[in-house]
Amino acid sequence: MAHSTHTLEKGAAKAAPAAAVYSIRRPRSATAKKMFPYLLVGPAVLYLLAITLYPGLFAMYQSLFVVKFVNWSWAGLGNYTRIIQDREFWAALANTAIIGGLSLSLQTIIAMTVAFYCYRDPFVRGWRIVFLMPMLFMPSAVAFIWKLAFNDGRVISDLLMSVGLVSNNVDWLSSVWLARLTLIVADVWQWTPFLFIIFVGALQGQDEEIEEAARLDGASWGSIFWNISLPMMRPIIVVAVTLRGIDITTMFTNVYIMTQGTPGGATETMSYFIYRQGFRMFNFGYASAASVLMLLITIVIAQTIVKRAFKSGKS
């Protein structure tokens, strides 16, 4: 008892000087207080501006010139009018839409299906870790793995032959759709986990009591999913798929490593087209104009989708 009183007094004695120290500290001025948060985020903002805004503005500026290394000659909107008549540009746009669209749809469906089957599984944490793995690989490493599996190492062909689906080695780059398929498979393999993690998280967060209520109302797991889970997840789905979609429209690594746009440009995506114009043919102004166009297209599409999804979700 006596002991505890003693420590109490000691604590009180300590507290007094601490308070004094605090009051001695010079009070900050109002502006200094206001500036402090900006100071904290400043470095990050500068860094982001340096790697996004500056190159972006530079590309916009450059897109108004015909650039041959150091020779810049003013072209106005000349690059843009040429691009609009360029068949290769439109082909690249279509390829991006086809490959990206198929890949994104597949990823969404697979991720949702797997999430649906395992979100109330007792081992769901384990599943999450297992499915997360592909995402942790370096994208270029993944591209090389699939290049090996499809083309150089013929692993996939051998597998298909051993189950009797094909009789000869498949030359994946010989046909438009097979070549596109290899890109889709690689992208689906690596990025479905991204959507899966988000979907399974949303499903796990769903109120279990609501599922039980629906069970007692006579709903099967399938109808619970369609009638209750899916509508509730709508905003999450829209955001996740939009993010993934934006990422897919800039698909480059896999194309560069696996197909290089073959056969006959059938797998040339927008990013690869821009790369080819800029760094193979050195049409910097032209490539810049293409990137600006692509940026505009992406923004318009993403905005429309998100706006529409959230508007109809509210009513």
């Binding site: 009591e209 039980e212 007692l216 006579g218 709903a219 099967s220 209750i228 509508p231």
Partner: protein, 347 residues
């Protein structure tokens, strides 16, 4: 419409036993209330009847059919959850319609059934709203409407009123009772509130630590508590329980003397309800500890050497603190409990 039978039902969670060897027979059309303190296994019992939880041992029957291996969705049971569990993305109309859709009730009948159910709980004007746009009481009624719309064999309600304010709770209580009488559906209702239990139940099941303490009508439970747990749980304030000794037909404790059956002896607990005491008399001598006027009644606490005794005095009663006071008991309403807590000396 159906009876419910629980036979030697046990539910364990690992080594912890949530419900122990429960035997319960709910009669067709009965309103049965499970009453007990928090954590005593009420919800677990109800969830086993619903099929949301599987009994570790024992049988559960609805009607004559064994339910142990029947999935929750095939039991034809409707449940009202404590948190209402309305579907947030659907309007109230669609919420009430959901069980009809899931059970393939012909579409042509839907509108009629939904409006009738909504009418019963006075929810008519809110059918187009989403649950998020309703008050607690309205959500509660929406959950009720969803449960009654398909006329199930059994209603289960898990503390459905506990999230409402006192006034609303009282009016919903009457509404639920009226509705149950009208629909004649066997109902199991869980609560920890004894007033709800007393007012609603045909029969009350009192539980403690996973074990049934007593089953009986509200009157029965009030007038003939089987043990000290039940005696101390029912009534507000509950029965005074006073430890003492019995000898030669007299029970005595510090400041207390009452006659008791001659066959009692040794350590005995006396039970006396606050409403069976009156000021003036020779059973209890003590000091006034507290006086709490409430308007229609005055609660008086009397201190004795061992224990504080609660008494309901008349509305005019006032007394200074620490003044000496004498209290008389209605000796026809004394209860005696043995050392095991169970009732003794009943003829």
């Amino acid at each position: 419409m159906a009876s419910i039978l629980l036979k030697n039902v046990v539910k364990s969670f690992g080594s912890f036993v949530g419900v122990q060897d429960m035997n319960l027979d709910v009669v067709d059309e009965e309103f049965l209330v499970l009453l007990g303190p928090s954590g005593c296994g009420k919800t677990t019992t109800m969830r086993m009847i619903a099929g949301l939880e599987h009994p570790t041992e024992g049988e559960i029957r609805i009607g004559d059919a064994l339910m142990n291996d029947i999935d929750a969705r095939d039991r034809d049971v409707a449940m009202v959850f404590q948190g209402y569990a309305l579907y947030p993305n659907m309007s109230i109309y669609e919420n009430i319609r959901f069980p009809l859709r899931m059970r393939q009730v012909p579409k042509a009948k839907h509108d009629d059934l939904i409006r009738r159910a909504a009418e019963m709980v006075e929810l008519g004007p809110f059918l187009d709203r989403k649950p998020g746009a309703l008050s607690g009481g309205q959500r509660q009624r929406a959950a009720l409407a969803r449960a009654i719309v398909r006329q199930p064999q059994v209603f289960l309600m898990d503390e459905p009123l506990s999230n409402l304010d006192a006034k609303l709770r009282a009016s919903m209580r009457v509404q639920i009772k009226h509705m149950q009488r009208e629909l004649k559906v066997t109902t199991v209702y869980v609560t920890h509130d004894q007033i709800e239990a007393m007012t609603l139940a045909d029969r009350i099941v009192i539980m403690n630590k996973g074990v049934i303490q007593q089953i009986g009508t509200p009157d029965d439970i009030y007038s003939n508590p089987a043990n000290t747990f039940v005696a101390g749980f029912i009534g507000s304030p509950p029965m005074n329980l006073i430890a003492g000794t019995a000898q030669n037909g007299t029970f005595s404790s510090a400041g207390i003397r009452v006659p008791c059956p001659a066959n009692l002896s040794g350590n005995i607990t006396l039970g006396i309800r606050p409403e069976d005491c009156q000021i003036g008399g020779d059973n209890l001598q003590g000091q006034v500890y507290g006086v709490e006027p409430t308007g229609d009644i005055t609660y008086l606490t009397v201190r004795t050497a061992n224990k504080n005794i609660e008494i309901k005095a008349g509305r005019e009663f006032r007394a200074p603190i620490d003044s000496a006071i004498a209290v008389g008991f209605d000796t026809s309403r004394l209860y005696f409990f043995g050392e095991d807590g169970y009732r003794v000396g009943v003829n």
